[in-house]
């Protein structure tokens, strides 16, 4: 081994020495502080980046373009001034509530890669349901027909994390879909979720993802529920 490599290795070994964990009191203090600390908005970061690059030419060019745009805008407004309608009240901005999981969801077998599980079964495609209740309870029907299999489990949401815990299915020979066990296994492996096709607080599509971001199951909102 050459001396340079040897010295690098010694430095690496020495750099390993030290604490491995943040003592809990500091984490607790940080989290308590965060509770009362507002975030700063994204604001004007594109401009900040421009000025921070310390290139006078870029900054001058920016101001040149900005002056041109402002000049053109003023000219345009002064031409249109006479034609402007009288001032009217601007519409008030509204805040949309965060979409939630609440509601009844129908399993999309095809997009969940489970088409074969309902092959040959009329009506099975609307047979697998999942209903999230506000109490942390999740109710579901795995099979296509009443009495085949239903379950009650629990779920917890923290930010975008989702954990579902449901019991093993009761499988009868005549039940559809044929892969009930697998559906239950997948539900128990959920780590996070993605809501899509959202209109305000209502979303039409729920995708459940596993630890590696793999798609486990896709549901559509049951609009008739």
């Amino acid at each position: 081994m050459n001396p340079e490599q040897d010295f690098d290795d010694r430095l690496r070994g020495w750099a390993e020495l030290g604490d491995e964990h943040l003592p809990a009191r500091y984490l607790d203090a940080a989290l308590a502080q965060i509770e009362t600390t507002p975030q700063r908005g994204a604001g004007w970061w594109p401009l900040k980046g421009l000025f921070m690059n310390r290139k006078p030419v870029a900054t001058l060019a920016f101001f040149g373009v900005a002056a041109l745009v402002v000049g053109l805008a003023i000219g345009r407004f002064s031409q249109q001034d006479a034609a402007l309608p009288s001032a009217t009240a601007l519409p008030t901005a509204t805040t949309s509530p965060a979409p939630s999981l609440a509601g009844q969801w129908l399993l999309d077998f095809r997009r969940s890669g489970l088409s074969d599980a309902i092959a040959g079964c009329e009506g099975c495609s609307i047979g697998s349901l999942l209903t999230f209740r506000g109490t942390g309870e999740v109710f579901g029907i795995s099979g296509a027909f009443a009495g085949c299999d239903s379950f009650t489990g629990s779920y917890a949401v923290a930010g975008s994390l989702l954990q579902i815990s449901i019991p093993p299915p009761t499988i009868n020979a005549g039940c559809y879909p044929r892969r009930i066990q697998e559906i239950h296994d997948r539900l128990n492996r959920v780590v996070t979720f993605v809501l899509a096709d959202c209109r305000s607080a209502i979303c039409d599509e729920l995708t459940l993802l596993g630890r590696e971001g793999n798609r486990l199951l896709v549901y559509r909102l049951d609009v008739d529920s």
């Binding site: 604490d19 600390t37 700063r40 780590v191 630890r211």
Partner: protein, 183 residues
């Protein structure tokens, strides 16, 4: 970055405190180990990590690319370490408090002490590049992105820091002559 962490960062960026709380558990550890190695003082490292976590929460909406979160978080931490060292410039001779864990047997105790003494004489910027390079195994290009300086500056800081550290080890190995001077 794992999918879970990416999701947490994205949620926290949009103001989700619960998601940030989840994220802070592992992030706090990752930042603290680096702060402890740069500052060589457990309590100071705890204070700086706490300060960095709050700063990260505050500034998170300005992070444009979630995939750059790690490097950005280390930048916030390194800046916080540098500020802390500036505040305490007059008393910045710390030795790493190593109670509670086993020293690496492959490093002679003499070397370790010499490295410690030489390290605490380095500037905050030099300490940062040494730890980012030798502890986190970051390349000079990655370090340049984290500390926001040109690659050449990182190379230079690393070069001078290594020279100082090597000189400390070499000095230890020299025979002591009359009058206590090294050869």
């Amino acid at each position: 970055m794992s999918v879970v962490e990416r999701t947490l960062v994205d949620s926290a960026r949009r103001g989700d405190r619960i998601a940030f709380g989840e994220l802070a558990v592992s992030l706090g550890d990752r930042l603290h180990v680096v702060a402890h190695r740069i500052l060589r003082d457990r309590d100071l490292a705890g204070d700086v990590t706490q300060e960095a976590l709050v700063k990260i929460w505050q500034e998170l909406p300005r992070l444009r690319d979630v995939d750059r979160f790690d490097g950005w978080a280390y930048r916030v931490l390194v800046n916080a370490c540098r500020d802390e060292m500036r505040r305490r410039r007059s008393t910045n001779l710390y030795l790493l408090d190593i109670d509670g864990w086993m020293p690496d047997a492959s490093i002679p105790v003499g070397d370790r002490d010499q490295l410690e003494r030489a390290f605490v004489r380095l500037s905050a910027d030099q300490r940062s590049v040494v730890i980012l390079h030798y502890y986190l195994d970051h390349s000079v290009t990655e370090i340049a992105a984290i500390v926001d300086v040109p690659v050449g500056t990182v190379r230079s800081r690393l070069h001078y820091a290594k020279r100082a550290l090597r000189a400390a080890i070499d000095a230890e190995g020299r025979p002591v002559l009359n009058g206590g001077r090294s050869a």
